[in-house]
Symmetry: D2
Subunit: 109 residues, 4 copies
């Protein structure tokens, strides 16, 4: 399965949960409940990714990165933003003069 | 440009910086320097994403999500893990019984 | 009650939970269970503090700062470090040439 | 030096920087500049504390905990909240039925 299908499908699944009954769906709770719940998950999953990386556990690293990306996609969906828009932004940075050069400037300020 | 191309190209650019001279490239510094540098960026970018979401600033949300995904890709590249592997993990969760159901169980423990 | 008493008493309470039966005490679980649990809380509480600050909600700010400090004290207690040692470090920075000057140098590197 | 003096003095130093010239003082920059700067530091220092704990490096743990507490004090000072108010909240939790019991209930929801 290509990345396009995976992220696109993921976005579709997430959006479909916007109207799902609360209590039956973890994603519905994150989408419809208090926004702080999904934001707290972003903080929690970031730390879990850092721990997995520090432990050099490849399977955990992949697992926690997927969790972090997933929860950030859910948070974005609350604001009607898709994963494709994030990819387009990454592409824009590479398409012009490149992330590398832009970042190198902005980070040294 | 499809997501596949974007993430694949991003992985390629990151990997190409593994041998780049330090000091000329922000990505080379993150890949070759002390690992805590890129991990700290993950903590920092998570908070920036949370702030952007709280501010309901759509352009900032996309920008900060791109920063968070980019820095997590760099951290993964230090362990020879690609964005495709993260997508495959997300696909695996959806391909069987779905993230939704699995998560709903694991999160309620 | 003076701060000394508060932090000292908090350390005492935390240490007393090191031998408490699991399942009866939240602190005992954080002290005796997998370390990632209390570390995840640090990530989560950091984000909650950021949200409270962004919301300019004074009661929430105090509440979330207390949560963050508390969970960091529990994490430190797993390594036999007390809040007093953290305060001593803060005092040391002020006692010599001051945090201000040291920080101003180290952060601009 | 007692904790009371340390935290009280720290609060005094931070408040004194509210009017200090920007560019000469790291704390003045955090107090007077864009709020996201000090919030990003909270995210960054949280991750540094997690890394230090994972590395079981006692000196680093104390150092990073001090950094995290310090930056949270600065963020609170922007909203005219002192470290004493955070300690009072911690004391309140212990003074009634205790953090332990309250937390144990709220975290299991």
């Amino acid at each position: 399965v290509s990345e396009e299908n995976i992220l696109g499908r993921l976005d579709d699944v997430i959006v479909s949960r916007k109207g799902a009954p609360l209590g039956e769906s973890y994603v519905a709770m994150l989408l419809q409940g208090d926004e702080s719940k999904v934001l707290k998950k972003i903080g929690e999953e970031s730390v879990e990714l850092v721990i997995a990386i520090r432990d050099k556990n490849k399977q955990s690293i992949i697992h926690e990165a997927a969790d972090l990306w997933f929860h950030s996609l859910v948070a974005l969906a609350r604001h009607n933003i898709t994963g494709q828009e994030v990819l387009n932004e990454l592409n824009r940075r590479f398409g012009v003069s490149g992330y590398e050069e832009k970042e190198s400037r902005s980070k040294n300020q």
